[in-house]
Amino acid sequence: MDKVLEVKNLSKVYGKGCADCFGLTGPQADTNICPSCGSVVAAHDVSFDLYKGEILGIMGESGSGKSTSVKCLFFDEEPTSGSAVFYDDGKQYNLFTLNAAQQRQLSSRRFGMVYQNPYLGLNFDISAGGNIAERLLMSSISHFGAIRERASSLLQRAEVPTARIDALPKTFSGGMQQRVQIAKALSTYPPLLFLDEVTTGLDLSVQAAILDLIMEIQQEIETAMIVVTHDLGVIRLLAGRTLVMKYGRVIESGLTDQVLEDPQHAYTQRLVASAL
């Protein structure tokens, strides 16, 4: 099996930080705010591997550090410490030591990100097709006709009517915006895709369509995915393995069916028992 990503001891502290930050925060301390210096320990000591075509779930309540971890990997945030190696086509990239240009190159060509809020992932001033073209232009395709064709087929794939390829995303429903975002993220056929609460706040039927789309794509192009969600149903459906986070720490990890049916940690037991 091919490894795609190896994350080791990833930490992110918001604030100046101090020697007590890691010792006085976390699930035992029941907080992620350092009592000594007031810094927020959003993530600490997060480690995991990801293989080709694998879907890894990260679950936990709001503020547990799941989005922060993913944002560090997509270069939206700069980690405080830790390492992440991305394996691609026989090459290795040490993500946190790359310069800004190299990072941009990876995030625009080899990674995809779908945010909970479509405003973060889409440019609302240009059309749906333009959004996809923008990403394709940053990668290798530059022929107008080819870009137009790819955009149209991706939108079709995501069940966005092709008649609306030239419409602005702000005229779309929330579910449609989310599907354009997915089409845009996938336009370069990235080997690694980050999905941050992509179904949160959508109608159940729209959620279903988006989850189906994600699963079909995963089967077709074997993209490895990290799915961040607090929805146990989404985790059960998509992820083979799952990490559970609380106050910035990974408190439990395992095969998804095991985490849900035989949770080991008190917090995971409570979380699973609270599910509808």
Binding site: A208, M215, Q258
Partner: protein, 249 residues
């Protein structure tokens, strides 16, 4: 307690030694024992039946082998296709996922599948995951659904609204088409009528002849009689209090 009904001359695929499972419930401050002192072996082309009263931890043994449960104690030694032996209780998660994909299949009591997918696709899925082409996998899936007497007009529908027996046949068909090396069965015929049960028995026997090793829980003693080469009887586990009294005495 193990009875060997027929002499063992087949290679051993799975050896469970001293398996125990207990649930530590933090919120309730309780430890619930589920299985204790389980010893069993499963052989190529033969069926080992797990028997014992409700609450003796039969399902918990199957789930521990499949790693839906994390075993609390003991070893679950699996001999793979490539000849290596691995302790499933401690194996790396990626390794378990790979074995689930390639070698070990589990017919659970209830069908857990992707929603909104046609039954024939769900049955074909294990083959597709292993690289069989979509059209060939669907053909094999239809063939198996036909053999299990699932009405043809249901094949293109999601099993969500199926009856218990129909769901159970979809569940069985998924594992039967995959022809795994080790098949775990948790009451696979509990919601089937006698005719369909006979069909399932016939298919399971075919798989046995093909060399599949099986570990099964049957609710019907007659099926154990008919299908099993080996029988392992489980006892209701002792509670933590009983165990503590024993060690104090």
């Amino acid at each position: 307690m193990t009875h060997h009904i027929e002499p063992i001359d087949s290679p051993c695929v799975l050896r469970v030694q001293g398996y125990a499972k207990q649930f530590v419930l933090h919120e309730q401050s309780k430890i619930i024992p589920s299985s204790q002192h389980v010893e069993l072996s499963v052989y190529q082309g033969q069926l080992t039946a797990l028997i014992g009263p409700t609450g003796s931890g039969k399902s918990s043994v199957l789930k521990g082998i499949y790693r839906t449960y994390l075993p609390s104690d003991g070893r679950v030694l699996y001999r793979s296709k490539n000849g290596y032996e691995i302790d499933l209780a401690k194996a790396d998660e990626h390794h378990i996922l790979q074995l689930r994909n390639d070698e070990i299949s589990f017919v659970t009591q209830f069908l857990h599948v992707l929603p909104r997918k046609p039954s024939e696709f769900l049955v074909a899925q294990p083959l597709i995951k292993r690289g069989t082409s979509m059209s060939e996998a669907i053909d094999k899936a239809r063939d198996m659904l036909a053999r299990l007497n699932l009405p043809e007009h249901l094949w293109c529908l999601s099993p969500t609204n199926f009856s218990g027996g129909e769901k159970q046949r979809v569940n069985l068909a998924r594992s039967l088409v995959a022809k795994p090396r080790l098949l775990l069965l948790d009451e696979p015929t509990s919601s089937l009528d006698p005719t369909t049960t006979n069909v399932v028995v016939k298919e399971l026997k075919k798989l046995k002849d093909y060399g599949v090793a099986m570990l099964a829980i049957f609710h019907d003693p007659a099926l154990v009689e008919e299908m099993a080469e080996h029988i392992v009887e489980l006892q209701i586990p002792q509670s933590i209090e009983q165990l503590q009294e024993k060690t104090q005495a």
